[in-house]
Amino acid sequence: MSHHHDHTHDDDPARAEALRAEALETLLREKGIVQPEVIDAIVQRYAQDIGPMNGARVVARAWSDPAYKTRLLADGTAAIAELGFGGAQGEHIVVVENTDRVHNVVVCTLCSCYPWPVLGLPPTWYKEPAYRSRVVREPRQVLAEMGLTLDRRVEIRVWDSSSEVRYLVLPQRPAGTEPLDETELAGWVTRDSMIGVGLPQAPVTERADG
């Protein structure tokens, strides 16, 4: 048994199940029976609503409660656990704060490590080589292509996730939201704003097609 990676026991049932799931998916992919993008789309179709709600609650609490925000930036994992969210793997979640001068964006250059206890399932583009490699080299350009054009004076910091450390962006509270309570604020927090490729947005209260 290795001493420096004691979280990867072979007798860990959760890990064994994850490996069986990966074994099945990779075999089916190689046989051309399933495509990863198709599975991504299905999962999003069924479950797009599960994820970012947790992260949105964390951000809304930080916007509403300065003491919570201080704890969140000091120890993200512990502050997120206060709201009842945590990972089975015990990875650390580090929260990075956007300000007028600094904009943070998250990537995993090696694969697709992602703070899923708070953000749910990673979007397909997050796992694609184009995003993973380019956002490090030319973040301003990539963000602009994704619809987020930042002032040249704003410094962009790119955070590379790993299996040990996952990053969550604390976006800036939008102007004009002062009267809103925490629950209402959570509706403004988008998944993309917590990855750093978008900004919080006013919630859509009605959908044309129901």
Partner: protein, 116 residues
């Protein structure tokens, strides 16, 4: 052709866990095996009714093999889902159980660091 999967929406022992009406995945692999099952059903490899029957059988077999204390401790809905999926995929001759076992062992032997 997508078939309406009523058991995914309703209650009953084979229905997936939900919180506040939404599907709950405790880990990424759970969502992957969920997505694979939906994809294979949409391709017609099996019907939802076949999948549901298989899932119910896997759950029942798992429970029979355990005492009530063990059942509470080790229960994983999506582990049974995965087992049902493996049964159907191997039954249809898509791949062999031994191939799955060998692949899982090979993946387990990777150097640590970037498990998703």
């Amino acid at each position: 052709m997508a078939e309406r999967a009523s058991f995914l929406d309703g209650g009953g022992p084979a229905a997936p866990p939900r919180a506040n009406g939404e599907l709950v995945f405790a880990a990424p692999w759970e969502s992957r095996v969920f997505g694979i099952a939906v994809a294979l059903q949409e391709q017609g490899l099996f019907s939802w009714d076949e999948f549901r029957q298989c899932l119910i059988a896997e759950i029942a077999a798992w429970e029979r093999a355990r005492g009530s204390a063990e059942r509470d401790q080790d229960w994983s809905y999506y582990a049974r889902w995965q087992a049902a999926l493996e049964t159907l995929v191997t039954r249809q001759g898509v791949c062999l159980r031994t191939d799955l076992d060998a692949r899982a062992r090979a993946l387990a032997a990777r150097p640590p660091g970037h498990d998703h």
